[in-house]
């Protein structure tokens, strides 16, 4: 019998294997790689092995010992690969400027001179403990919190303490905040439009219901890019909306609807509305038909019946719809890029900039990690809340 059960388990495993494999190869693995690149920093430790081991005897405050300096020179001599050396210089220079000129000069001198090489005599910058500290941080560990801190507009100061970056140096925190506030605005707009709509759709039957649901579903079958482009046309100064308003005499000059926050929120609300309407509708459709008559027979005015019976019962759909809309909105990229202005870009566009524009995979991964963590935290909060609702006697 155990054999039979084993076989069933193998069969079911074989059935899910393609999906599992797909998820691992195309989702989990890239995700993991990105996350890893956010915290990995192996270059200095790999290229400067002798320096790394000599670092253990140094307290980071006193001037570096002769042994450490000698180890560093030895390491420099051994570097043959120019590209590897370039990576090392870029890594060190990103922490403290000056390395870009200092390092090639020192490498050339180290290759030509015999032992020992007096580094301070070669360049007096080597007397500055700050440079040695940067090398110390970079070479002592293969992982770093530099990117993660930078993603939150933080950095480490000379003493290694976490501190805020100077204002103006980075705007990640502001953009993250903007991303959350825009996603929230879209979610609220979706609730305000989607809840009444779903209620109407659930209260009618036959072709009317089909028509209403079709109106929501139709956009889902159109490409996101096409829908966004359509809004681009509609929202322009001489687009359909503005020309209609002016034709009706409601405004004398075009409203600013594009390249600003309003336009982005309008377009994103439209795109994400189905994710609100469908869960709410399915919850409403599952509510027994006789609850509202029952409430009326017990003396509830229609408004009271709505507030005490229908609304609380539809709340479960509203919450899952909101979660769906909010989380999708957090990652929006195309719509803000096409319809928004420079001040309406969300965190995805910053991630895209680091990934494709600046080729800084570490920063792209770090920002992605921050976004993912924030989203997961929200999800945990949601699970907690919904679990409490279920558990309530």
């Amino acid at each position: 019998m155990n054999r039979g059960r084993f076989r069933t388990q193998v069969t079911s495993l074989a059935l899910v294997a393609p999906l599992l494999l797909f998820l691992i190869v195309f989702f989990a693995l890239p995700l993991f790689t990105m996350m890893k690149s956010a915290v990995s920093d192996p270059i200095a430790a790999n290229v400067l092995p002798a320096t790394a081991s000599a670092l253990s005897g140094w307290d980071r405050e006193s001037p570096p010992s002769a042994a450490l300096q000698a180890a560093f020179v030895t390491d420099l001599k051994q570097i043959e690969d120019d590209q590897l050396f370039g990576d090392l210089v870029r890594r060190l220079n990103s922490a403290k400027s000056g390395f870009r000129t200092l390092m090639p000069k020192t490498r050339t001198a180290a290759k030509e001179a015999g032992e020992p090489l007096d580094l301070v005599a070669l360049d007096k910058r080597w007397a500055d403990n700050g440079y040695w500290q940067v090398i110390g941080v970079a070479a002592s560990s293969t992982i770093t919190d530099r990117n993660l801190l930078a993603a939150l507009d933080l950095g480490r100061d000379a003493s290694g303490e976490v501190a805020a970056l100077p204002t103006g140096a980075s705007a990640n925190r502001a953009i993250l905040l903007r991303t959350f506030s825009m996603a929230l605005a879209v979610t609220v707009a979706c609730v305000l439009i989607g809840l009444p709509f779903a209620m109407i759709a659930a209260s009618v039957e036959g072709w009317k219901r089909q028509l209403l649901l079709g109106a929501v579903l139709l956009p889902l079958w159109t490409s996101l890019l096409v829908r966004t482009a359509a809004w681009f046309i509609l929202l322009q100064d001489n687009g359909l909306i503005n020309s209609t308003l002016m034709f009706l005499g409601l405004t004398t000059e075009p409203l600013a609807l594009i390249f600003n926050r309003v336009g982005v929120i309008i377009a994103m609300t439209h795109v994400l509305l189905p994710f609100m309407v469908l869960p709410v509708f399915s919850v409403l459709a599952g509510i027994p038909k006789n609850l509202m008559p029952a409430a009326a027979s017990l003396g509830a005015h229609p408004v009271q019946a709505f507030l005490t019976v229908l609304l609380p019962l539809s709340l479960r759909g509203v919450i899952s719809g909101s979660l769906l809309v909010f989380m999708s909105a957090l990652g929006y990229y195309i719509t803000p890029a096409l319809i928004g202005g420079a001040k309406d870009q969300m965190i995805s566009s910053v991630i895209a900039y680091y990934a494709t524009g600046a080729a800084n995979w570490g920063m792209a991964g770090a920002l992605g990690l921050v976004l993912l963590t924030a989203t997961l935290l929200l999800y945990v909060v949601y699970l907690r809340l919904s679990a409490e609702r279920e558990l309530r006697p």
Partner: protein, 353 residues
């Protein structure tokens, strides 16, 4: 205008071309338990819905306590409704459900709590106050629905097949419970059902419906013993229908010539006159085995059905089949036996053919 507690006056209801209720005139007295009985589609639920205010009559009017109510919205009618599937609010606890009508009437917190406790005790659910409806059995949910419909002391309680979803034993228990509550609280109950046994056991009065019209109203005994139409005779319980025409009427005895040539004596009422086509209803339990003073026939047993407390015999005699309900005190007859059957003229109920 009306003297009765509730009065339906010439009420009709159509949905498009479909007429569901036609020319209904029905009076309901205060404190009575009336059942609206009929097969599905006979319009009985629609009548209840018109009384509760969820449907409005196409023509005619509904009166309660001398006031016209058919234009009043449901929440102003003060009628407790118990729905077929209980219609409890799933997001509220049992006590919140029961307190709902009082909350809608803005009663004080202390009085509400007090009345909820009493209402739950009345239906023996005091210890379930904090449960959700989904954590209760069907019978318990039904009792919550009952408590909720009674707590605001409505003038009328309307019940739409409330016991339909329960199993037989529980249903019979609930029938007794509801009857006891009705008697104890002096409620007026309008009870819709398609189960004739339920209607017979619970009601003070039954209105039998067919195709949107009242076939007959009367006490359970009247309906059972003296059905006024063939439909009522066949729908309520089991019966033997015999067709024939009146041959002679002599004093209190009428002679009926049957279609198969035989004759029967019946107790004559004023309605009988020679030559009239009639239909006779003879209840199976009124037919006795053996020869009697009148109306004796020989017949052959074609089937015997065992029912535990009684036997049901299917007999064939002279082109007429009969169902006979007999107790088991005698030696059980067997299939193929030739026997004599008889019944009294007073047990032949004459219906217009």
């Amino acid at each position: 205008m009306a003297d009765s507690f509730i009065r339906f006056k010439d009420v009709s209801k159509s949905f498009g071309a479909l007429t569901v209720v036609e020319g209904l005139n029905l009076d309901i007295e205060q404190g009575e338990f009336i059942s609206l009985l009929g097969p599905s589609g006979s319009g009985k639920t629609t009548i209840l819905m018109m009384l509760a205010g969820f449907e409005s009559p196409t023509t005619g009017a509904v009166w309660a306590r001398g006031k016209r109510i058919d234009l009043l919205p449901p929440h102003k009618r003060n009628m407790g409704v118990v729905f077929q599937n209980y219609a409890l609010f799933p997001h509220m606890t049992v006590s919140e459900n029961v307190a709902f009508p009082l909350r809608m009437r803005r009663l004080g917190r202390a009085e509400t709590a007090d009345r909820v406790t009493r209402a739950l005790d009345m239906v023996q659910l005091g210890s379930f106050a904090d449960r959700r409806p989904s954590q209760l059995s069907g019978g318990q949910q039904q009792r919550v629905a009952l408590a909720r419909a009674l707590i605001f002391e409505p003038e009328v309680v309307l019940m739409d097949e409330p016991l339909g979803a329960l199993d037989k034993q529980l249903r019979e228990q609930m029938q007794l419970d509801i009857r006891a509550l009705h008697r104890r609280l002096g409620l007026t109950v309008v009870f819709v059902t398609h189960d004739q046994t339920e209607a017979l056991t619970m009601s003070d009065r039954i209105a039998v419906f067919n195709h949107g019209k009242v076939e007959q109203t009367g006490s359970p005994a009247e309906i059972y013993d003296h059905p006024s139409t063939r439909f009522v005779a066949e729908f309520i319980g089991e019966t033997n229908l015999v067709r024939g025409s009146v041959e002679t009427v002599e004093g209190t005895t009428g002679r009926i010539r049957l279609e198969n040539g035989g004759t029967l004596s019946v107790e004559a009422s004023g309605r009988l006159h020679a030559g009239k086509d009639v239909c006779l209803s003879i209840r199976p339990e009124r037919v006795t085995l053996g020869t009697g003073p009148d109306n004796s026939f020989s017949a052959r047993i074609s089937d015997v059905v065992y029912h535990g407390d009684h036997l049901r015999l299917l007999v064939q005699g002279n082109e007429q089949s009969f169902i006979i309900k007999t107790d088991r005190s005698r030696r059980p007859p067997s299939v193929g036996d030739n026997i004599m059957i008889s019944f009294l003229p007073t047990d032949c109920w004459v219906i217009d053919a």
